[in-house]
């Protein structure tokens, strides 16, 4: 089941890119969403994410990890584009 879903997601991503159906920014957004769905599949089907003995601290830890990952990636890219253009 997990395998089927993840392969479908992969092929879908490839297809949207090859089909040239969307604008550049939209495409990026779509394939990123598909990638995020893949994470969910992995976590749910294979990594037994919800299992644990005692409180589920690892869920909060990973959630925090995702938040900080987002901050770092988005922040870095925002900073490095220098407001879109160089004055000179």
């Amino acid at each position: 089941m997990g395998l089927v879903v993840s392969i479908v997601l992969t092929l879908l991503a490839l297809w949207v890119v090859q089909a040239h159906a969307l604008s550049h920014a939209m495409l990026l957004a779509v394939i990123l969403v598909l990638a995020v769905l893949q994470i969910v599949v992995q976590l749910a089907f294979f990594m037994h994410f919800t299992e644990s003995a005692g409180p589920r601290y690892h869920v909060s830890a990973l959630a925090l990890g995702f938040v900080f990952t987002f901050c770092i990636v988005a922040g870095s890219i925002w900073i490095m584009t220098f407001g879109g253009t160089q004055p000179y």
Binding site: L3, Q42, F66, F68, T69
Partner: protein, 208 residues
């Protein structure tokens, strides 16, 4: 390790999987989740590095010049399947089938090896076409990002081999069960990272 203070030992419960049955197992599995969180940030930094440098080709080969759809699709599918077989291994372990567990692990290792083989071939091919790490910032970050993932996979293969050996000698018991579970987490995590490499590096690269 000190005595358990968590519920695990005080209420022995037959539904608890073997890998969680000792305090040691609980701690190590939790610790490994945290380790994965640090690895996540590590890759996040490499990804932002790549995203910022991927157009800085310094007149050298560009993404479109290099990436080849069948090649990276093959790598992707192999890794996805290996993630699945690794999941099957964990399930067999839960059922206590040592033979099936080892068989699936061996399949996973073989898939991992073929992934590494394809990746090495890809790298060698690029280098042969003058696309070395020294050529441009884009290539430096490409090789570092994809290569770091590749190193992780190679380590995972070695690790699985060591666990296979231990399973052969000691069978399924609390410690080996924990190790199988943890190496499984690691393997699935690498799969997740690859999905992003697939998306951000390869798909984005062939988008135009």
């Amino acid at each position: 390790m000190s005595l358990a203070h968590e519920e695990v030992l005080s209420h022995p419960d037959h539904d608890i999987p073997l890998e969680y049955s000792t305090e040691d197992g609980v701690l190590k599995i939790f610790g490994f989740w945290i380790f994965l969180a640090t690895d996540l940030i590590l890759f996040a930094c490499l990804f932002s590095m790549y995203q910022i440098l991927h157009l800085n080709t310094a007149g050298g080969p560009t993404e479109q010049d290099l990436y080849n759809v069948p090649e990276f699709m093959a790598e992707t599918l192999i890794l996805l399947v290996s993630s699945f077989t690794c999941g099957l291994a964990t399930l067999e372990m839960r059922k206590g089938h040592r033979g099936a567990l080892m068989a699936w692990l061996i399949v996973t290792v073989l898939l991992g090896l073929s992934f590494i083989f394809l990746e090495v071939r890809e790298f060698v091919d690029y280098v042969g076409r003058g696309a070395t790490m020294q050529r441009s910032a884009f290539l430096s970050s490409f090789f570092t990002l994809v290569g770091t993932h590749g190193c992780h996979v190679s380590l995972g293969i070695l690790w699985m081999l060591s666990i296979l050996y231990q399973l052969g000698r000691r069978g399924i018991q609390a410690i080996t069960a924990r190790k199988v579970f943890i190496v499984g987490l690691y393997w699935h995590f690498l799969d997740v990272v690859w999905v992003f490499i697939f998306t951000v590096v390869y798909l984005q690269g062939v988008m135009h």
